[in-house]
Symmetry: C2
Subunit: 369 residues, 2 copies
Amino acid sequence: MLTGIAAPSNNPNAEFPRILPDGRLVFRVQAPLARMVQLVPMMGKPEYNGYNALGRQPYDMTRDQDGFWMVTTPPVGPGYYEYTFLIDGVVMMDLGSATTFSGNHETSHIEVPVREPTFYDVHNVPHGDVRQHWYNSTLTGKWRRALVYIPAEYDANPTRRYPVLYLQHGGTQNETSWVTGGKANFILDNLIAAGQALPMLVVMDNGSTFPPGLFRLPDPPPAGNPFERVMINEIIPMIDATYRTIPDQAHRAMAGLSMGAHQTLQITLAHLDVFSHIGVFSPAPTEFDVKTTYGGVLANAAEINQQVRLFWWGAGTAEPAIYQGVKYRLARLDEVGVKYVFREWPGLAHEWRLWRRALHDLAPRLFRG
Amino acid sequence: MLTGIAAPSNNPNAEFPRILPDGRLVFRVQAPLARMVQLVPMMGKPEYNGYNALGRQPYDMTRDQDGFWMVTTPPVGPGYYEYTFLIDGVVMMDLGSATTFSGNHETSHIEVPVREPTFYDVHNVPHGDVRQHWYNSTLTGKWRRALVYIPAEYDANPTRRYPVLYLQHGGTQNETSWVTGGKANFILDNLIAAGQALPMLVVMDNGSTFPPGLFRLPDPPPAGNPFERVMINEIIPMIDATYRTIPDQAHRAMAGLSMGAHQTLQITLAHLDVFSHIGVFSPAPTEFDVKTTYGGVLANAAEINQQVRLFWWGAGTAEPAIYQGVKYRLARLDEVGVKYVFREWPGLAHEWRLWRRALHDLAPRLFRG
């Protein structure tokens, strides 16, 4: 007799993982010959990512007589948790769960629902399409795919033009992660339907344009990295040519999480004539000198405050190194008088629960002037 | 020193699987503590699906001193092969490979390229978008997602209306499988750019509308199954209301593979006023009496031949039970004088290599009158 409910993120007919009435999670995997099986919460780099309610330590699973290994976690809050199984030292996905691209491969996740409707649920409001758009990239020598959120009203207003948010994923994720993990489209649907955000396009492209053999971009990416040129010379012109955008600085924003936050800082601050609104989610700590980093543009507060209409930063208190690194940099901005908005989330770490909230806080502030 | 090339379907920075110059494939997985590791070709139900060039038998993998297990297969032809690793009896995905939804979860695949450009490659032609479109389904009590291929010219011709192909996946696949495994969008892009197919919309929705607890639809699905009503009463009206379609029988086609082939037969033949073009790819063998199956409509050849402008069937010779089942049914159609088109592919089985070719053969024939 099974207790609780199968998670809403489960694959068809998968009874596990399950959510118990008190919020504990039950994971199960069949591995009759295994000697040791663990549930491993996925949190990226533990040294600065901290941990969420699922913790950072692997959970030992217990074998039953039929070769099923199970574990029940402590109660966790609502939201999204990535995990893998470690079976005799081999990382494997849970075939019962949906996946999000993370760790440079599809990774299992469980979505723990709340009783009350949330800002990221699918509500009965008009829904924008997410378009998979392929385009030829000369700079990378590849066909690339952008995912483009188009607001629900777009097709019904064939002469109206829209502002654009360029929204970047983190390291080892890809252009699909903001949809499968971040629910960016549903967040925008709900905000736009409620009149809380202006209708806008959201462009999600792949920021990992590193050369073959390099696992990820240096942190922070060097000036002139391939993605900067791809964004400025290929993605933006392609989007402006393909969709009905308002193709000017006042109506163009860029935001990103983790690696994408660094890319956002590096690209927007080098192209203040291109972007007016900036969103920085959970950037890793890096060297930061307001007089020299990013070409020193932040030292000229009057100029920055005039050109950047919104300089939004966000982090969770449970990603301590990142949180402290953000606070440090904001203190330096205070010293020179650069204006910004900062939001922090107690108890949240380097995870989609935070980044969903960050997008939900950022989007209503965009393109207001 | 690595030989050959990393497969184009590999995840970022994954060096395995590799393709050797003579067409052999090399798979590798690290599992230091495992006692037995196998490479398992994924072919669905072996009893009628047959086998492709990768075969149907698991390949034993050999351990090296560092705990890497490897195997080199015989040479295989170009195309697409799904596989898993079986490690001490546990099915697991290859973290180095891209995935397609199959088996009710994301499943690893390798794409083996050919030197010459193929009909399913990404070519330098105008590309249509694949739109993820969410809609509320009263019949299933769920929000559902359709993937809708929109031809490249759609946005530039704001008053033109288009015919629609409803294209269904097989059992344990989902609405994404025709894009990730089938490359339906690139096949249509190439055909439309060459003037070989008319510009059309292709709607890919989830045919697994079975009630909770039932693993898959009965084979064939009963009349009045949920998907029939979802297709007729929800999907088609939603598509006709959302996109610029030509909303009549002459400009509406349905096709599907395996389970989707049965759904296509069952739904189109029960709604001849709705569909004029029918595509049946690799249907499993079932009871078939031309006088009684599908309400007996096939017994009236004059009526069927007038209403169905194209009755297209396809199968591979290496899926023997399916192939023979199709030939049996076509012989019955011959006896009553129902017209059809039949294409067979020597050496191909129950696999995307076949279904890509089937779509490529079907699409140019659609909506020609």
